[in-house]
Symmetry: C2
Subunit: 201 residues, 2 copies
DNA sequence: AGCCCGATGTGAACGATGTCAAGATACGGG
DNA sequence: CCCGTATCTTGACATCGTTCACATCGGGCT
């Protein structure tokens, strides 16, 4: 088995790599199957040995986008201490990573949550990011930092809020700088007075 | 001035009408300039007398989508009494109308918040829906139903939450039925104990 | 009123795109 | 060593966005 099988070997992977780059740079609507193939150095129809459609290729790009979100959130949680303040900080870190992805990589973020997900992704339990958010919230609850009865359903509320803000800022409907205001408002709503004191310290 | 000026008169409006219908039915990505022109009964190039681009036409469709959102939220607020329970009900009604738009008209909703907004819309103050949300929240605050210090920034939090849930459900990442859970979670987070009692009654 | 000019629409054409069918080519197992 | 199969190329087709030259309507000026 030589390093490159036939002309390319892992053409599928190469196509997705380049497609991710072009989606990042130009937005998914301006990405062309022919353009991706040419950038890889291969004939346009070669792609049809690995993907049924242009849509199938774009679906793979969407999954890469989801993976990038998981990666960013995982990285944001890497550091941090063990006290209450650090627990609150982890929630902020998740939100900042999520919003930061949308801010730094708008085209890929938009595509990662576009109509191309339907074909491949599982339920919302499939996302690592969602599992990490639940762990952080459980931690806050265990520390008694959440208001009474606030925990059930809070994962969905927080996820929706952060995801929604990212989309709204992405559409230019509000300024990215409003993220601080959003996080403060979120924490004011979900934390006890003690937790709030820590968060605003 | 005859009823129809030249062959059509208000061709621009007719094109947008048909384009809105096709976006609704097929999703904005599958809408074709030629198809819209043919449905109106006009040559493809005729559209270029009224729109610079296909993108310009789609931008007009996006504005129609925003208007439809305003209309739905306005209609949801039409009825309702004057007591505290009705005030809380109006917040729920806004959220349900917003999510209902995404549920009933997924393609138009998605397009209304797509990249085509950048060209035409103003800041987030431009949306009537946003103004109505602020009025409802001010009313709740005036009635003392909001937790201490919760009002500043709450508009952005609520808007983000509802918008985010709509997007997440639209992507199939969670069930539409979770909307109830979301609304309960939101109210648990923002309302005082008294308000909560009313909301859950 | 009658002509003229601008607004509006038509038709044909060009380049680019997604997709497919048929043939060529290289890799890996017998 | 040879052959089947997976892989890639070539060429073609229909469709799409867009443009250009031209036709046609209709209101305003004298």
């Amino acid at each position: 088995m030589s390093r490159t099988r036939y002309h390319h070997g892992a053409l599928a992977e190469a196509l997705v790599d380049v497609a991710v780059g072009q989606v990042r740079a130009q937005g998914s609507e301006r990405v062309t199957l022919r353009g991706v193939a040419q950038a890889v150095g291969v004939s346009p129809s070669a792609a049809y040995n690995h993907f049924a459609d242009k849509d199938a290729l774009l679906a793979a790009v969407a999954l890469r986008g989801q993976a990038e979100l998981d990666r960013r959130i995982g990285a944001a949680l890497a550091a941090g201490g063990d006290d209450d303040a650090a627990a609150i900080g982890r929630l902020r870190a998740i939100a900042r990573a999520y919003i930061g992805f949308a801010h730094d990589d708008p085209n890929l973020f938009r595509h990662a949550f576009g109509p191309h997900l339907k074909g491949a992704a599982g339920g919302h339990g499939a996302s690592e990011a969602y599992a990490m958010l639940n762990a952080v919230l459980d931690d806050l609850d265990g520390r008694g930092l959440l208001r009474d009865g606030a925990r059930p359903g809070l994962d969905l509320v927080v996820w929706s809020t952060v995801h929604g803000f990212a989309g709204i800022a992405l559409d230019g409907l509000c300024a990215w700088e409003a993220a601080d205001e959003l996080l403060n408002g979120m924490e004011r709503a979900m934390l006890t007075a003690a937790g709030l004191g820590l968060a605003l310290r």
